[in-house]
Symmetry: C2
Subunit: 354 residues, 2 copies
DNA sequence: TTGAAAGCGCTACCAT
DNA sequence: ATGGTAGCGCTTTCAA
């Protein structure tokens, strides 16, 4: 059996409390006694206070849970997610807090169980979807949490850090519209759950269940509506994942069609890189014959010459962690909207023949 | 006050154990009673069993700690580390185990404290250095651990997954030597702690304190010794970090010198990409006028046409986690050596004028 | 400066 | 199928 604090105390002939103080509150006993206790501990092979027991007693853990939609491995594969995490970890470091990375199972029952079983002091929810029930599970557990998207229905306990998705999307779409593009395709990940890759009809951008996607599609639509291109005239393309391959697969059909779009606006850089891949395979390089835009401004975007919207990934992570670790005094302080920038590179140009 | 299991039990008029069973062992009570208990819990706002208390009682946590040298944010910045983590997380997922990502403070005292305070069932040590005292801290805590480098002095409790660093390094150096290169530079991260960027003298490759670096430098040296180039004739270059920028900075001086090397062999792809950056800035593109090799074969290596050594990053992570979560039956099973491949691309070529 | 007592919230065993 | 009992290992008043 592993020795416990009691064993150490017994060995030295002091009480358990004194032995505990030797570890947690050195100022509460004489240096000599403390040395004696630590010595005995070493001799007995006492591993030091059990962190779990300590957390139980103290009432907090010193760790925050970071929840991801889909597999945990996704977190390490998506460059934007990685930078977000880097930001979170920077803040956590400063607070001596660990990060418990948690994959979010697809089915709701298991989500509850994951949330209920995590030994953490709060949650950072980095979700791709509108996982309202995830938040409910967290609320039910009575833990604080921060999400990474603005929430219209944010209650006083809700904290979030996000960007104005709609305005950001509109900025890049305005740019494309100004270049004369009218026959355009919009590309998003999982517009509707379970939808196949490729063209998809939706009554309006507001019908996308996912709030981030909804915001961006709406912003795109706004820009084109302003130049007389109504929603039904826009081609909506569904990708089955947020990856290059899925992006490529999603555009394959329309690119091969009779009247391909003159521009493709994607909801993420990763997706748009897939479009570039597909075009490159055909020997094309944007803006000829097709302009392509992304969203996020990940590192690869610069190398690819991608026109995109930059959002401050690390900053977002940093703020999210701060919102959790340094609780805002007023509920209003619990909401942060970050700035975005349109980054124009070489992947967009005037519509051919204009 | 948050209600506890006792409150729920009281409300329903059952014992605490029965209430507990309603959550943890549904088969131990009638469905009707269970429903009644769960209902009361909901009504009272009982958040479900406290994970910390449960862990304490059960004796295990359901999480493993992943220890990184340097900042946690590094983990998300180095592509090889990211892929390693993806592998670890895949296995962890399968076991319903969470990952606690832990930065490793520089000073030993804080390392102990970090290790001692983590609520985990074991550690995966992904270290850049030869942090023997880290392992000692873990051993002292009586926790299992796995490291990511072969250890000559591995005891029965040591588990590791690694590659044959020396042989792998030799394979790429043999290739470079066969191309006729004799005036070469070797580039490594933190050859000696605190050393400035650029050329550095070392009596022999065995003097590098860091085992991975030592292994790779030794492999490089082996190859050139075999063609008559002894260690002192090789230029050793120190980088102050494992980053492109540090790689670039490390080679700046020798590239600008009178007799620049005809080949640079780096201990990581990231470093060699920095060399490519520096050469590109001068309008050069390997193999002209200088051949460059990397190590790891990260994604960017292919795009850059880098000749390198591929090591299975995800596999390494997967195996590391398995070693921890599916304890080997015999100590010998605790050691895994993974295969590596020489990947020849365009960054290496015959020595100019040969 | 030290110690005694009282739990933190839960689960597992054993009995009924 | 249900309940009683006995801790898991620790920290923290409070009193001495």
């Amino acid at each position: 059996m592993k020795p416990t604090l009691q064993d150490v105390a017994d060995a030295v002939g002091v009480s358990r409390s004194t032995a505990s103080n030797a570890y947690s509150r050195p100022d509460q006993l004489s240096a000599a006694l403390r040395a004696k206790i630590l010595d005995a501990a070493r001799r007995l092979g006492y591993p030091g206070p059990n962190p779990t027991a300590r957390s139980l007693r103290r009432g907090f853990v010193g760790a925050i849970g970071v929840l991801f939609t889909s597999e945990l491995s996704y977190a390490f594969t998506d460059p934007f997610a990685v930078r977000f995490l880097a930001g979170v970890s920077r803040t956590a470091e400063r607070h001596g807090t660990s990060l418990l990375l948690m994959p979010l199972p697809a089915d709701r029952a298991r989500v509850r169980s994951v949330v209920e079983n995590a030994s953490v002091d709060g949650f950072c929810v980095y979700c791709v979807g509108d996982e309202e029930w995830v938040l409910q599970a967290i609320r039910d557990r009575g833990q604080p949490y921060v999400t990474t998207a603005p929430r219209a229905d944010a209650g006083p306990d809700d904290r979030y850090v996000g960007i104005d998705e709609r305005a950001a999307a509109r900025s890049v779409a305005d740019h494309v519209a100004a270049l004369g593009h009218r026959r355009v395709a919009l590309l998003a990940d999982t517009v509707l759950p379970g939808a196949p890759p490729g063209p998809l009809r939706l009554a309006g951008p507001g019908d996308a269940p996912h709030p981030t996607t909804r915001g961006r599609l709406t912003g795109f639509a706004d820009a084109f509506a302003a130049v007389g291109v109504a929603w039904p005239a826009l081609t909506l393309l569904n990708a089955t994942a947020n990856s290059r391959a899925a992006g490529a697969a999603a555009v394959a059909e329309v690119l091969a069609g009779d009247e391909p779009p003159t521009a493709v606006l994607a909801c993420s850089d990763v997706l748009s890189l897939g479009v570039l891949d597909m075009l490159a395979a055909a020997g094309h390089r944007p803006p000829h014959p097709i302009s392509v835009t992304g969203f996020d401004d990940i590192a690869e975007a610069a190398a690819a010459g991608l026109t995109t919207v930059r959002q401050p990934a690390e900053e977002k992570g940093r703020l999210a962690a701060e919102l959790l670790l340094e609780p805002p005094t007023t509920p209003a302080d619990g909401h942060r909207l970050l700035p975005t920038d349109l980054v124009v590179r070489t992947s967009t140009g005037p519509v051919p023949g204009s």
